[in-house]
Symmetry: none
Subunit: 425 residues, 2 copies
């Protein structure tokens, strides 16, 4: 039990009828628990209750008996069912007071969004006596207070705002309060194009040699993410051990590992294209614009992404990309031949170094025996040559679109790195 004493214990309370009725999945508790654990703190309990006085009051009281800190999310908004401030006020017997700085922040926020100030917005600034505002740069509003030496953090239920405050305010404050916490470091390796059972085999082999590290596996369709967590007293040694494990995983999975940390596939592609000074254009059929959307999700993508043509109809394929009517007739829109002409056409018309084309059947209609739903052909045209191949993806329409678009980005990454493409059908 000695290890237990290393940890500062806390709990998470999420408030909302949408949680207890099963209408909404509780991603806030999950995020907060993950971030706190990774920061060396321990979460002993997560409780979700509806927006009503008896439930919230009971769980707040019970949390005070057992925890050093309590994270509460939800019920801070401006609508009638946002009752957290009032319930906390009654439970802890602290009257609601108008927090002037918070009111100013809310006003500034409303103005920026072009929203008129109202009494329901003002309500949000009435917080239990003694509360401290949590709001770095006024981007989101929450508050904290200390009762019986227990530190309570009240955060909005909007996931983005909650995450922002957890990362920017709550964790730094807890870490500075409790001093040197055991270091838990976590590294994420992002993988594309390797199946789950294959990764499980890699894990089996790794497990024997990575005694203290905890390996995690998280499918993020169509990617798979592998996490390696390690807790120790010493940051430098922990990092060195993580390096060693990362190296072993990379030896096993090779170029399928496309990123470490938080980088997205589009960011990885963007970096390589920027470094190599290459430009790209895309000709999209079944993805309908998703490849362009992913590429332009990266700030600064205009340096390498020139644009594209979404050729959903055959007429657009012919008129805007120069695909031959004969090719469409003989081979069909979903074929290596059409994909080739699309890639070459978009490259030529947009004057880019590389042209990428995707043409497939996203379903649920349009499949045939020879070309079932999920059949997708891709091509990449460069000054030297054009390559093309087909894949068969699995899943519903959204899965097939996303997998196709990710594969197109993976082609760009592998092309620019000089790595072989993933084998097709």
């Amino acid at each position: 039990m000695e290890r237990e004493h290393m940890f500062v214990q806390g709990e998470i309370i999420t408030i909302g009828n949408e949680l207890t009725s099963g209408r909404t999945l509780d991603v806030n508790a999950w995020y907060a628990a993950g971030r706190l654990t990774a920061s060396g703190l321990r979460v002993t309990r997560i409780t979700s209750v509806g927006d009503d006085y008896p439930s919230v009051s009971r769980v707040l009281t019970s949390a005070m008996e057992a925890s050093s800190f309590v994270i509460v999310t939800g019920g801070l908004g401006s609508t009638e069912d946002d009752l957290t401030n009032e319930i906390v006020s009654r439970t802890l017997d602290r009257p609601l007071c108008l927090h002037k700085e918070m009111l100013e922040t809310i006003k500034r926020h409303a103005k920026m969004q072009g929203v008129e100030m109202s009494s329901s917005l003002e309500k949000m600034a009435w917080v239990p006596d003694g509360s401290k505002m949590l709001s770095p740069e006024g981007k989101a509003c929450g508050f904290s207070l200390v009762e019986n030496e227990v530190r309570f953090y009240f955060l909005p239920g909007v996931p983005e705002q909650m995450r922002y405050l957890i990362d920017r305010m709550v964790i730094p404050e807890l870490q500075s309060l409790y001093g040197r916490l055991p270091v838990t470091m976590c590294r994420t390796l992002k993988v594309y194009g390797v199946s789950e059972p294959h990764i499980a085999e890699v894990f089996k082999d790794l497990d024997k040699r990575t005694s203290k590290a905890v390996l995690g596996f998280y499918p993020h369709f169509p990617e798979n993410h592998i996490t390696v967590s390690l807790t120790a007293e010493d940051a430098r040694n922990t990092a060195r051990e993580l390096d060693r494990i990362e190296k072993r995983i990379r030896e096993k999975l090779g170029t399928a590992v496309f990123a470490t940390g938080s980088s997205s596939m589009a960011e990885v592609v963007g970096n390589i294209f920027t470094v190599k000074g290459l430009t790209v254009s895309v000709a999209e059929s079944c993805t309908g614009g998703l490849v362009g959307h992913l590429l332009t999700s990266v700030s600064g993508s205009s340096r390498y992404f020139l644009g594209g043509v979404v050729s959903y109809s055959n007429q657009v394929k012919m008129e805007l990309l120069g695909v031959q009517a004969g090719t469409l007739e003989k081979c069909g829109a979903v074929s290596n031949e059409t994909a080739r002409e699309m890639a070459e056409g978009v490259r030529k018309r947009l004057h880019s170094d590389v042209g990428i084309a995707v043409s497939g059947i996203a379903g649920p209609e349009g499949g045939s025996k020879e070309k079932p739903v999920g059949t997708v052909h891709m091509a990449l045209a460069s000054a030297e040559k054009t390559i093309a191949t087909g894949y068969r993806f699995w899943g519903n329409r959204q899965h097939i679109k996303l997998n196709s678009a990710t594969m197109a980005l993976d082609w760009m990454r592998r092309y620019a790195n000089g790595d072989p493409l993933l084998p097709g059908i």
Copy 2:
């Protein structure tokens, strides 16, 4: 409080260190809560705790004080950290007994899967005295017991098995125990282009007249979703009352309500364009393909969506869409004038009834004093005329892209319905 008495109240406890450490998202609690609520039962609390005696014991004891039924998942397996049976035995002071029928089921199961029977598998059949096996057709194993008139259900943490037992055993048993349960119906209204405080004001006014209905508000950027839940004994009257409330909300919010139920904006647009026999093409700059992606997320979108041009660079705007060099020079790429020429260009070149154009500054770079980040100009060209206006959106790059693309779809919807567009800057 009379309303409360209509409901049989219960709670859900999920056990596992993977939950409190944030390694795994708690989909079991979400599923169970949703199914129980839909069956007319009420979940008042969901608690996740780690696999240890003090945490589990404490939450079991607390649940007994407040609930008629308790669903517990996790910790029933064969590994060392599966401790639920033992903890329940100690907490309720009921010795573990070998349940013969359960042992047979486990043996049969092991044989079917080609797994050798072992002492760790046998462990699973040692359950607290007085437990009843839950296992229709031996597909998954759980058990139930009654203590102090509280009905406990212990289910495995494997989502598939848990769901199977919830649907096949737990809910039918609770329904037969508690007789005819009240009907809870929920309706969702989706809204675009109305601010949260404005909706709050509408709610205030509605609340007085909708005594029994529970109104909920859920931001789904850039949309807002309003839910109306109503519980009553009689399904037909409940539906009629929901109709009445929906009508009142629509009176207040007008054309901002774009859908009822689960339809997306793209589906709504697709339906109208299909019914009216219209076709559309898109010219996208800052959205980078997102408008096309959203439109093609709908199966059958090829009936009305012909394709588009992603004109990220000015050269593409000129060469593929016919935007005049002079317009770009004089007014800039982000202007009504350029948007107009883009919309007219894409409509002409793709031979569609309607051409939509979006050109803006998604940031974080590229803003100026006159045209800050978030400035987005749109145009819609039809046979009769071309309309254009600018908006100023708020948020990060992803927000601005998504808001712009949704606004483009909203223009399509409003154009086809003959409704006025949302006012711009």
